[in-house]
């Protein structure tokens, strides 16, 4: 076997006229921590559902750990662990019983199961809470248990669909640590979906940016951000001064791109060595009579990358295009709390 964990070939999913996933071809290496990044409704979860045999693709195909998702469905399921986006525990069972059920379903014998339950509970710090009912778990604890469960049977590939959706910042941080730890310590190939830029940036070796069912960019997070190639300087000037400012800095050939936002009354500049350029920019702006309210600079984020490739911000896409889905998700999530 080669070093490929997952290979998809023109994977496609249509629901009637709507194409949720549009000829996605990608390859994920063994041991990789791979992210599918995109707004809600971009098709990330649908890709996961197809790769985990929950949905049959309407076109194309894929191999997971060398098994075809259409033909060797049981073999695929034997190789993977899945943490679904929505809760999927039996709330009338304890944490330990949920794990035990899982172990049995994957044919683990009693001793192996007992040892493994202890191990994964330890990994997610739930040893002390193992024997209380799931309905008494907090959202974060429940999520951690689901991650532990996904690891129970030593899967080759672990799929995590929005692992930190709806969780508070601290719990999110914990879960990131767990994901990294199991990727390193257990050598599990991890494929996760997220619409949190910082999550993909912090966790993933490589990221595929998905928009409207297509991969618009795929590379390491570093290389993706290098595509922006520079620092981003944001000047808040007020709408009436925006054009004046753009004119004033048009003479600097080191400004690689300029974006105006009427809404936030700002101008964004991509430049190299931003910290050294700020004085020059401010000086020429003052000479041109532009009133600058504030200046800020940040290193490129995946948000900027997403903006570059799709021409929109990931948060805008969320609020308009996939508004209904967001509502559904938050409804599902409220149960956890």
């Amino acid at each position: 076997m080669d070093g490929t964990a997952i290979a998809t070939n023109c994977l496609t999913m249509r629901f009637g006229d709507f194409t949720a996933v549009d000829e996605v071809s990608l390859s994920i290496e063994r041991g990789e921590l791979f992210g599918l990044l995109g707004p809600n409704g971009a098709g990330k979860s649908t890709i996961i559902k197809m790769l985990t045999t929950m949905l049959r693709p309407t076109g194309g195909g894929a191999d997971v750990w060398g098994h075809n998702i259409l033909v060797d469905r049981d073999a695929v399921r034997n190789s993977i662990g899945v943490v679904f986006q929505d809760p999927s525990v039996d709330s009338q069972l304890t944490g330990r019983e949920n794990l035990d059920f899982h172990g049995r379903m994957y044919g683990m014998d009693k001793t192996t199961r007992k040892d493994r339950v202890g191990e994964v509970l330890e990994l997610v710090d739930l040893t002390e809470k193992a024997d209380i009912l799931m309905e008494d778990y907090s959202g974060g604890m429940q999520r951690r248990l689901e991650i532990a469960r996904g690891l129970m049977h030593h899967p080759h590939v672990l799929f995590l669909d929005e692992p930190t959706l709806g969780l508070d910042a601290q719990t999110r941080r914990y879960i990131w640590d767990y994901i990294q730890r199991m990727n390193r310590e257990e050598g599990v190939t991890v494929v996760l979906t997220t619409h949190y830029m910082e999550e993909a940036d912090y966790l993933c070796d490589r990221v595929a940016i998905i928009d409207q069912g297509r991969i618009v960019a795929l590379d390491t997070t570093e290389k993706l951000k290098d595509l922006i190639g520079a620092d981003v300087i944001t000047l808040e000037v007020g709408n009436s001064h925006q054009d004046k400012l753009v004119q004033a800095i048009s003479k600097f050939e080191w400004v690689s791109s300029v974006d105006l936002s009427k809404e936030t009354e700002t101008v964004n500049l991509s430049v190299d060595h931003g910290e050294a350029r700020i004085p020059e920019i401010v000086l020429s702006a003052c000479r041109a009579g532009v009133k600058i309210k504030s200046v800020s600079m940040h290193e490129p984020t995946l948000e900027d990358v997403f903006l570059k490739f799709t021409g929109k911000k990931i948060r805008e896409t969320e609020s308009s295009g996939a508004g209904r889905m967001v509502a559904v998700q938050s409804r599902m999530r409220t149960r956890r709390h």
């Binding site: 049981d74 039996d90 049995r104 379903m105």
Partner: protein, 256 residues
């Protein structure tokens, strides 16, 4: 995918058992209606002359097997429909993503649902005994267990079949009120169906529970309209058909 995974079937059965013994209030809740039916109808009609009742049979002996049938019908259907809860709360995905054939999943769920239903049926025997029900013999009791399993399997499978076709839980009360309740009333659990007008009686003959209740009554107290072997065969055929239908509809259903 016709592979049967006994360990997975056992696992799913075990889960139902844990839930059954844990959710005591739910069990109590589902036992209350048949208990009240038994107690109030049993006492209330104790001295009433029920037409078509065989010579020398008292109403409580007639009623108790019917109420056991009712208990089995309701709890088994509910057990089959409980897949809706698993879907709603996401646990169905956990089951479906495991490397276990769907047939094994159906078998495991059915085994669990049937066991809990039969246990409830047996519990209802106890107030029956207290009210004067006399079982004809141990052989009859064993035969009644066979009938209980067949009744429970039939309606558990029908519940599963419905649940496989339903997207959410909105149809649940519709099924309970418009399918399960008429099936109960038509089955002759409360009164001899000979008292019904002919057009209603013919509906009774289409109700699998009619043969189940008749079989229970015959095996437990020796009162039966049809020959027991006829009850057994008809019910077994219904059971096989329902099981096949439930397994097929579950097999082709979507997880999401």
């Amino acid at each position: 995918m016709a592979r049967l995974d006994l360990y997975a079937i056992y696992t799913l059965w075990l889960r139902e058992m844990i839930r059954f013994f844990r959710l005591k209030s739910r069990v109590l809740g589902s036992l209350a209606p048949p208990f009240f039916f038994l107690a109030f109808l049993g006492f209330g009609f104790r001295t009433a002359a029920m037409p078509e009742l065989p010579e020398g049979a008292d109403y409580i002996s007639y009623l108790a097997p019917g109420i056991i049938g009712m208990t089995l019908l309701f709890s088994a259907t509910f057990g089959g429909l409980s897949m809706l809860w698993d879907r709603e709360f996401g646990f169905l995905r956990e089951i479906m993503v495991a490397p276990v054939s769907r047939l094994s999943i159906v078998m495991g769920r059915t085994a669990g649902g049937v066991t809990t239903a039969v246990m409830q049926g047996l519990i209802i025997l106890i107030p029956g005994f207290l009210m004067g029900l006399e079982v004809s013999g141990f052989g009859g009791f064993l035969l009644s267990l066979v009938f209980m399993v067949l009744i429970a399997t039939t309606f558990n499978s029908l519940g599963l079949a419905f649940a496989s076709r339903m997207k959410d839980m909105s149809g649940f009360s519709l099924i309970m009120n418009f399918m399960v309740f008429p099936l109960f009333l038509l089955s002759g659990a409360l009164f001899p169906i000979e008292n019904l007008p002919i057009w209603l009686r013919s509906l009774s003959y289409l109700d699998p529970l009619t043969y189940g209740v008749d079989g229970l009554r015959g095996s437990l107290v020796g009162i039966n309209t049809f020959p027991l072997i006829f009850d057994l065969v008809v019910l077994a055929i219904c059971c096989a058909l329902a099981l096949g239908l439930g397994a097929y509809l579950f097999e082709i259903s979507d997880v999401d």
